[in-house]
């Protein structure tokens, strides 16, 4: 019975979303406050209904209710509780439900926090948000109903894909979805602004926190996914340029561009129409991502053919919103007139360059991701575009970005004397280049990747520190330190996020350039040297887990006889799903990870074992965490809180009230 309640709540949510779309739009066009005011409660009610529906599905998974076909296909009674919960979104139907849950959560948040927006803008933003809800709720209800019952429930389920039974991947989709869907807010603001025909500094300020929040969630989601790939797939890769990964990376790049261009709108009232275009594209890419992942069209063209109904439905949604958004943009963007005047060498100019590099980088990923599909359909050529292409075609953009970033971050707005503005950066530049040269001298005869990466990373980190220091004035040290603590959090956020990017640079370059690898057959009790360490395979045991069987090796790592770590890599078999997984064992360190994998028993005795030394591995994710921290700092800046605080201020006296336009 409760399952039907969940289903019913979802259907009701669809109707509420329709109301949320139609009435406020009409009300805003006709200037009827009562109709516009419907948007707010509707957004909140829609969220509550979808939350109820989601909670029902979660209950079905937790209690292993095998009358639901979805639970049968993706769960099992022996599965640990965490994965029963994450199983809710470990499948198509449930993940789409999570998608609309996030969507309505953002809508409700906008209704909740957006009381300082002009009434017509608020009504239109919520209406556009509601219309996205209509499309995706209809998609779920008509093509992927998670509440389908089975006439004869089986005794047990078919278990979740074992690769997904992992803490890293349990939380990867929710963050990614919050990011994807967070960009829908930027989209809604863009469309509402186009309908209003008005984009000003205030608009830039309103849209920025939502984009920032979405970008933070995307960063966390991508980092979690990459971290999972690192320890789960058994050889320590962290990024594969897989279509599904690219699908999340493109919105991230566009969101990063949008964050920066929205600053220009907010501070200088320029780049307006470009910012609107980016907001439309960012959500467009989110939907393309959803389409790629959900339709399976890029994994194989045939996957799409086996389930065309869903693929075509999402394609239609995507075409409607992106196409509609771009059409509206084409019709109205001309009316957005820029105000700020500035010279090419200025902060504005630097941010334009930032946008060029980020947008073209996203374009390269886009072309590379879709090219196999285009080549097959248009030219009949079946080909692959993989990591070697992307490494070559994409990396130059980020190298260029890293070179210009610290300059751009310190030069003043409007009009800068280039040479004078960047003079304080010279010591840092010399230091970074010297460090790169030193690294190059220390490593003999290897690729330039390591030294260049270290130099760029240091340049970013030290450049960010210089940027902060420059903002503290020209007084004595004590005074400058005091001012440093009092700088706006947005300044801190900017510096911290840029430094985080530098840390990730060092991590990626270090790991790719200086990784060491050893593959061999080892017998129990055997000790062998590896990269300045000694590794001993103590013993190999057969172990039984809650829902898997495992071959577990106990391996000892020592350095010059002193113990470093005892690691237990595993090879698991999940009987219900019939799948093996490798569980690498990693000794995490600040400078390096030691990464051990156990393989099959060999015919002549002993086991195949792999050992990797991965320098700077943790810097990759450490940098991502620092970037997020920067985002959070910036999000908590006073000017956003003031806007939120104004809501709680007592209403002004009736006589002073301003009539709505």
């Amino acid at each position: 019975m409760y399952v039907e309640l969940g289903h019913f709540a979802l259907i009701l949510a669809l109707f509420v979303a329709v109301v949320q779309t139609v009435l406020p739009l009409y009300g805003a066009a006709r200037g009827r406050p009562a109709l516009m005011a419907v948007a707010e409660p509707a957004a909140i009610v829609q969220f509550v209904l979808i939350a109820v529906s989601f909670a029902v599905l979660m209950r079905a998974f937790v209690t292993s209710d095998f009358s639901l076909s979805l639970v049968v296909a993706n769960s099992h009674t022996a599965k640990p509780l965490l994965y029963k919960i994450s199983g809710v979104w470990g499948n198509h139907e449930g993940s789409m439900l999570l998608w609309v849950l996030c969507l309505s959560a953002f809508g409700a948040a906008a209704a909740w926090f957006g009381t300082n927006l002009p009434p017509t803008l608020r009504a239109r933003v919520l209406a556009v948000q509601g219309s996205i809800g209509v499309a995706f709720l209809a998609f779920i209800l008509f093509t992927s109903n998670p509440f389908a019952r089975l006439p004869v429930p089986p005794f047990n389920g078919e278990d979740l894909n074992p690769l997904l039974q992992d803490p890293g991947l349990a939380f990867h989709p929710p963050f990614l979805y919050l990011g994807y869907v967070g960009l829908s807010m930027a989209f809604s603001f863009a469309i509402a602004a186009l309908i209003e025909g008005r984009v000003d500094a205030a608009w830039g300020r309103w849209v920025r926190p939502w984009t920032l929040a979405a970008w933070i969630f995307l960063t966390v989601g991508i980092a979690l996914g990459s971290w999972w790939a690192y320890y789960e797939l058994g050889w320590g890769g962290f990024w594969f340029w897989d279509p599904v990964e690219n699908a999340s990376f493109m919105p991230w790049l566009i969101a990063a561009a949008l964050l920066h261009s929205a600053i220009v709108v907010e501070k200088r009232e320029a780049l307006k129409s470009w910012t609107i275009l980016l907001a439309i594209l960012a959500f467009g890419f989110s939907m393309i991502g959803t389409f790629i992942v959900r339709s399976g069209v890029l994994t194989s063209v045939h996957a799409f053919a086996t389930d065309p109904e869903r693929g075509v439905f999402i394609l239609a949604i995507m075409a409607f919103f992106t196409g509609g958004g771009l059409t509206l943009y084409a019709a109205r963007a001309g009316a957005l007139e820029a105000k700020g005047v500035f010279a090419p060498v200025s902060r504005e100019g630097a941010l334009v360059l930032n946008n060029v590099l980020l947008a073209v980088a996203a374009f390269v990923v886009f072309v590379g991701t879709l090219w196999p599909l285009v080549a097959e359909m248009a030219f009949g050529r079946k080909l692959s575009v993989g990591a070697p292409f992307f490494n070559l075609a994409f990396t130059p953009f980020f190298v260029a970005l890293a070179i210009v970033l610290p300059f751009g971050a310190v030069i003043p707005w409007k009009r800068a004397q280039g040479a004078r503005a960047v003079r304080p950066l010279y010591p840092v530049l010399v230091l970074a280049v010297a460090a790169g040269a030193l690294v190059w001298a220390m490593q003999t005869g290897r690729s330039a990747l390591g030294p260049v990466g270290v130099a760029l990373g240091l340049w970013l980190v030290l450049g960010a520190a210089t940027d902060l220091w420059l903002r503290t004035g020209r007084q004595g040290w004590a005074d400058r330190l005091r001012r440093l603590a009092r700088l706006p959090r947005a300044d801190w956020g900017k510096a911290v996020a840029h430094a985080g990017l530098g840390i990730t640079f060092i991590g990626i370059a270090g790991m790719m350039a200086w990784q060491q690898e050893d593959i061999r057959v080892a017998r129990e009790g055997e000790t062998y040297p590896f990269a300045g360490h000694e590794i001993t395979l103590r013993e190999v045991q057969q172990v039984e887990g809650p829902n898997y069987l495992s071959t577990l090796a106990v391996m000892e790592v020592t350095k010059n006889g002193r113990p470093v770590a005892v690691l237990t890599p595993e090879k698991r078999v999940y009987p219900v799903a019939g799948m093996p997984t490798t569980e690498a064992a990693i000794d995490n360190g600040f400078w390096r990870d030691i990464y051990l994998v156990i393989g099959d028993a060999q015919a002549g005795g002993g086991y195949a074992v792999r050992a990797y030394l991965k320098p700077f591995a943790n810097w990759i994710w450490g940098g991502a965490i620092v970037m997020c921290l920067g985002g959070i700092l910036s999000l908590s800046d006073r000017r956003h809180r003031v806007a939120a605080g104004a809501r709680r201020a007592p209403p002004v006296a009736p006589g002073q009230q301003v009539p709505a336009e």
């Binding site: 005047v341 374009f363 390269v364 050529r381 079946k382 993989g386 057969q542």
Partner: protein, 151 residues
Amino acid sequence: MRWLALVLALALAAPAFAVQPDEMLDDPALEARARDLSKGLRCLVCRNESIDESNADLARDLRILLRERLVAGDSDDEAVAFLVDRYGEYVLLKPRFGGANAVLWVAGPGMLLIALGLAAAYLRRRRNAADAGGAELSAAEEAELERILKT
């Protein structure tokens, strides 16, 4: 339960991980070349994995085939061409420049040039634009300002 593990391990024929010790060549220089090349070759039955990373049996066969060619004295290009002849260009993770693929390779640099051109034009316009920043506030904006300043 241990017998079950054994039965399952045999029944599922659990694929081994990527490069196996028994595949590796004794000559370290040749082996390093093989590893380099196999990072750019796709495992045909996998999702976007190179044969160097893949656990699939087919990837193992390709790795062994590649090493056989290298031992036979093929150059890097010859060994890769040998595989492309048999498995098609699908096996290459980095597409060749020829034919329609030129679009793929030129797309990025071309778009960068276009974008830089547009940006330069925009920046020039902004520099020469008449300063509209000092425009008067409208009455509604004045009132709004008043309201914000008072709360």
